[in-house]
Each structure stands twice: as structure tokens, then as C-alpha cells.
Symmetry: C2
DNA sequence: TCTAAATGCTAAATGGGTTTAGCAAATCAT
DNA sequence: ATGATTTGCTAAACCCATTTAGCATTTAGA
């Protein structure tokens, strides 16, 4: 007794609201209301609702998300900008954010900035043009200008991992300073005095600076002088070459360093590589601790000590805050700063100098 | 002399074609044509074009991609489905695909299927609802039904890494069989006879099967009997526990295995972990080769031998083919199968048994 | 002078949903 | 019997860019 569907319901062609409406001789409005569960509150009879739902299911109707997005100004998509998604730290985080967003019916567009300012700016623009509903960003930018204007427009975003001291914005990260302090302090308590740090330059990046400070303060507080020679700034665009050179310089000198602290996992990995090539034993000759704990550190021999970040917590909080922002876009809600603890995980790569 | 913009050009509000048109007292059509570089072919005067472009630049006009997508049926977005984006193999690949797609003005939505059939099916549906222009998929599905219907609809997609023997579809992958054969053959030529394989189960996944076959054939061809005891199938949802158990079983037996071959990087990493915990030296007691070469393998001591896949080539080819498909969606062009060579990279983790 | 062609531009339809404002018919109250 | 409500539904506007079909006006040609 149904109307004749054959004309509109062609094989392979997606069916639309209008198709369903026509086949049932009702309006698009009615179909839309029913399928959005607003049938009852709009007094659509149960029987009509049933018929609409049946046809929709039978022909596997799925609303065109572009049309929907255009009308609602929503895409249910979030942009995620990081330096490099192939860095395991970010890909783990991406995975957790993806899973968390899926729970809310959102998905993720991931973009890698390569630590390039203009590239990041372009990606932000690009994602905005796509009407992505919000952004999660580990920014490489050296000033907060772009984020200031995003904030002016009430555009929802959450900074993670890195932030801008003067920008009033949502931020989720770990306590880099105290993580770093803990790590260096541990080395000191094991008798190490000549502790080199491999860090990144040029650094306007908040997390790196905070980690550097933790290192210097730990040494100062222990009454051990800091030495600029031990402070190695590796250019971020040449980690491999930089680490190799730095370590060889450190070893060539008469300063007998006994420990190396690296401020991220990438530095640690290249550090491992160089030490292996030089046949220097960890931890017998050099103790090693890195910021960022990655699974891999636990697989190798010797296993690597590291400062672990609660990635799942970072992902959960970032998504929670972003969802709040998106759902209250014009409500001028207050911004959150979430600082999570970083935990030192001690493994085989450090040894005590005490005899 | 310009018209009064103040009414339409409010701060923070995005401007539209209509805004520009109204402010210049021309039609939307004209503005659209000019901004899409079709002014000349439609006989719009140079002067008018100049004025349109000037206003567009001044107010930083960016077309609403949702409206554009709705009208054109294009989103300039590609979906990428893999088992787990936090697996370094896939995240490296994702990065390369992302970069490659960016060159064509496309970007990427990445989804992790967790090797779950229904999850993958849902993600495909989800991406299609979003009108993603095409898919790149490393499928975990055990039959090609969904891809058959995608093909029926001329929906552009490229399979990578894994394929379906009976499906006529675009595919880019490496020669898993010969890579595997090479690796095992190398071990044999170094005098190894008791070579265990850690593989994945249950396996309907083409790449795993091809790798398994390479292992068995290498042994057979060398006149070494194959032994089901040495063929360990690790359940994919419990790699860590499975590897641990398998290795302990292998070592407990009176079969004195001298080498382990793992069919992917994940298995190799957990293998390393277990061997370290058991204080078994690589390569002195056990030689190790893995399929999938990842950077880590070159950082550690001993460095790990592996069969390397040309990720950049996989990414390039996949994107090239997908772009071709997208641009000739209705032309019924022939499908491509690209099989790239896999290369054995020998490092410290294998030793010769010859005295 | 009058038609044909070129020039420069526009109205309206389109894509596919969501939402506002409101209409017709049926039911109820008085 | 008549006005007030309720019930059930719809027309049309809207989101914004693209594109088709075609309209004036000017210039060229005969």
C-alpha cells in the first residue's frame, strides 16, 4: 500500500529527506522532525512516525552532513594540530583524543605543523574554513596573536602541552617544571654532579623552557653550580646531527659527565643511538633520563628511565573542556588551566655513583 | 567612493559572497566567478574584477567550505582507516599521506578500527556520511562485501597494506611473501635451523598470511622441515600476554631455538621486552628479525634487523591513485595493484651460527 | 538605419537539510 | 451553534556558494 518508490529510490544514489517525504506524501519538515526525535514534541502521530522511521531504515537513510552542517553551523569535527603526528607522543595522544571524541559523535582532523610558524597559521585557517567546531593545539607559535583573535571570536579551542603565559585560554598540560626537577634531583641524589641536559633551540616553547628551569633549579638547590657547557641546545630541525655533535663535544671535554637528561623522547632516542655507536654503556658509563615516557623505553635493554605524562588524562580533559566550549560558544564561560602531575619512572638506565 | 560596508561587515562575523556582492552593488554570481578565476572567460571587466578582489582581500573572504561542498559534492577531505594510529608504522604512513594530500589541497581524517570489524564498517559509513571524497584503508575486514558495494557506487578508495584476493580494487602494498622469505632465508644461511615465527591470529589478513607463507616456504626450500610448535599465533587483542607466553613456551621445550622471526613491529617490541626480562641476550642466545622496519630498531643496542617497507612510496602511490580515482569518478578507469619491494636491513640482532 | 554580434552582467535554481510561523480540521466548552 | 483549543501537519525561509540560462546595452557590420 506504500506509494511508489521506484522513481526516486534508484540504486547507488543516496536518498534524501525529500525522497522520503515524497514517497509518504508528507512534508520534509515532518520527516526531519521525526528523524531528529522531535516528533512527539511537535505532535506528529505515532503512526506517521512509525511509517517515516520504517522507510528511513529500509532505505538506509543517512542525512547529508554537509547540508546539515551548513544549516546548523556545525560539522562535528575537531582539528588537532601538533608538530608531528608521527612522533609517538602525539600519535598516542591523538589516538586517545580520537576515541574520546568518538564518544561525543565527533571526529578528528590531524595536522602536523613541523614546528613551522607559517604552516601552523595556515592549518588553523584551513580548519576554520572547513568550519571545524573547535581546535586542540600543541602550538609552535611564538606569540599568541592568532589565539587572541580566535578567543575574540569565541572560537572554541584548547591548548595542550604548550601554552602562552599571557594568554587567557584553556590549557591542559603537565607540570613540566617539577617533572624536570624531580628527574634531575634523582640523579643528584644518586651522586651525579656533572649532569648534561639536551634541550631544544630556539626555544619560545613553554614546555621546553619549564623543563630547562627545572633542571637548573634542581642543580642550584643542591648547591651544584650550573655550567653552560653542560646545557646543550639542539636545533629542532636537526635533532640527529645536533645530538650527535653535542654528545661528542661533551665527551671530548675534560668534564667527566656521568649523566644526561633529555627534555623529550626524540632527543633520548637519538642520544641512545649515538651512545651505542660510540660503544658507551648505559648506565655503566652514562646514566640517562628523558622527559616523556614512551612504551619503547620499557622494551629495550637497558630500559630507559623517564618522566611520564598522563596522556589519557590530558586527552580526556582536553576533550571535556572543548565540548564544554563548543556547547556554550556564546556564553562567555571562564577558561580552564589544568596542570597534571608528571611522574618519574625509574628504570635500568640510571645507576648510583655511590661506592 | 565605496558603498557603505558597515552594516554587513561586522567584527568577528564571517563575510559571505552576498556581503561582497551587496557592498559593490553587483551580483553574487559575478563575485563567485571572479574569485574562482572565471572572470575573464565570462567577460567580467578587468576593473570590476579588481574591485571584487580588493574587497575580498580587505575583508579576508574565505568561502564557506560546507556550502561549497554541498553544491559541488566535494569536501577535499580523505578518510584514512587503520587498525591503530598510535602504531608507529601507521602514524609514519599517515604523516606521509597527510603531506602528500596537502599538496593537492586535501586533508585527512584518520580513524582507528582497533582491528574490529564492526568498528571499521561504522567508520566507513561515518566518513561517507561526511562526504569524504575518498578513502585509504588498511582493512581489518574478513570479507570484501563493503568494498564491493563501494566499488559499485564508484566511490573512490585505495587499499593499502592489506587487500582482498578476489576484489578488483586499487591496492598498494609490499611484497610480503618475498620480504618474509628473504628474512628467513638469511637466518638459514647463517646456520639457523630452529627458527620460530611469531605471527598473528586469527588471520584473515592478507599481509600476515603472505608473511607466514614466506616463512614456511623458505624453510621448505632449504630442506628444513617446518614444525608447528615453532609457529606461534599470537591473539591480536593480547599481544603482550601472548608473546610472553609463547616465548616462555618456546624456551621451556627441548627444541633449542636460535632465532625468532616476528611478522610485525609490535610483536618484535614485546619480544624484546620479554627477552630482556628473561635476561636472554640478543643476538648471543637468540637472533631476531622483524617485519616492518621502524626507527627505534636502529636506535637500540643491539640494533634490530628488519624488513623495511618503502613508506614514502606507499604513501605517494596511494595518494596518486586516489587522486586519479577522485578526478575520474565516473570514467570507469581500470584499477591498479602496486606491489613494492620489501628490503631486508641487517643489523646487530642476528649472528652467524657458523663456528 | 537596422540587424548581428559582442560585452558585461544577473536572476533564479541547485545542493539537502533545519526551523519558524502558521494553517486546516477535529474536538471541546459553553 | 459558536468560539476556543488541540491535533497534526506544511509552506517557505534559511544556511552559502556555484552554475545555468539569458537579459540589456553597446559596438560592428551591411
Amino acid at each position: 500500500m506504500e506509494a511508489n518508490h521506484s522513481s526516486r529510490f534508484k540504486r547507488g544514489k543516496k536518498i534524501t529527506l525529500a525522497d522520503i517525504a515524497e514517497s509518504l506524501n508528507v512534508s520534509k519538515t515532518l520527516v526531519s522532525l521525526v528523524l531528529n526525535n522531535k516528533g512527539d514534541q511537535n505532535g506528529i502521530s505515532k503512526e506517521t512516525q512509525r511509517r517515516v522511521i520504517e522507510i528511513a531504515q529500509r532505505f538506509d537513510y543517512k542525512p547529508n552532513q554537509l547540508a546539515r552542517g551548513l544549516r546548523l553551523g556545525k560539522t562535528n569535527t575537531v582539528g588537532f594540530i601538533v608538530a608531528d603526528i608521527s612522533n609517538i607522543f602525539y600519535s598516542k595522544l591523538a589516538r586517545m583524543i580520537e576515541d574520546e571524541l568518538n564518544k561525543f559523535g565527533y571526529n578528528l582532523i590531524i595536522c602536523s605543523s613541523d614546528e613551522k610558524l607559517d604552516k601552523e597559521a595556515k592549518m588553523i585557517q584551513f580548519l576554520r574554513d572547513k568550519h571545524v567546531d573547535g581546535l586542540i593545539v600543541s602550538s609552535t607559535l611564538n606569540d599568541s596573536k592568532i589565539f587572541n583573535s580566535l578567543a575574540d571570536e569565541h572560537y572554541p579551542f584548547v591548548l595542550i602541552d604548550r601554552h602562552f603565559p599571557n594568554l587567557q585560554a584553556n590549557y591542559v598540560g603537565v607540570d613540566n617544571y617539577s617533572g624536570s626537577f624531580q628527574a634531575v634531583n634523582k640523579l643528584i641524589s644518586l651522586g651525579h654532579k656533572k649532569i648534561a641536559i639536551l634541550s631544544i633551540s630556539p626555544s619560545h616553547i613553554s614546555s621546553v623552557n619549564e623543563r630547562n628551569e627545572g633542571y637548573f633549579d634542581a642543580l642550584k638547590k643542591a648547591g651544584i653550580g650550573t655550567d653552560n657547557f653542560l646545557y646543550c641546545q639542539i636545533p629542532f630541525d636537526n635533532i640527529k646531527g645536533g645530538v650527535d655533535w653535542a654528545i661528542k663535544e661533551l665527551l671530548r671535554s675534560d668534564q667527566e659527565i656521568s649523566a644526561i637528561y633529555t627534555v623529550n623522547n626524540n632527543l633520548a632516542l637519538h642520544c641512545l643511538e649515538t651512545l651505542r655507536d660510540l660503544q658507551i654503556s648505559v648506565p655503566d658509563q652514562i646514566s640517562l633520563i628523558s622527559f616523556d615516557d614512551i612504551e619503547f623505553f620499557n622494551f629495550v635493554s637497558p630500559s630507559i628511565s623517564a618522566i611520564s605524562q598522563p596522556l589519557d588524562e590530558i586527552a580526556n580533559q582536553a576533550v571535556r573542556i572543548l565540548m564544554k566550549e563548543i556547547n556554550h560558544r556564546d556564553d562567555d564561560i571562564s577558561k580552564e588551566r589544568v596542570i597534571l602531575p608528571a611522574k618519574l619512572v625509574l628504570r635500568e638506565s640510571v645507576r648510583s655513583l655511590a661506592k
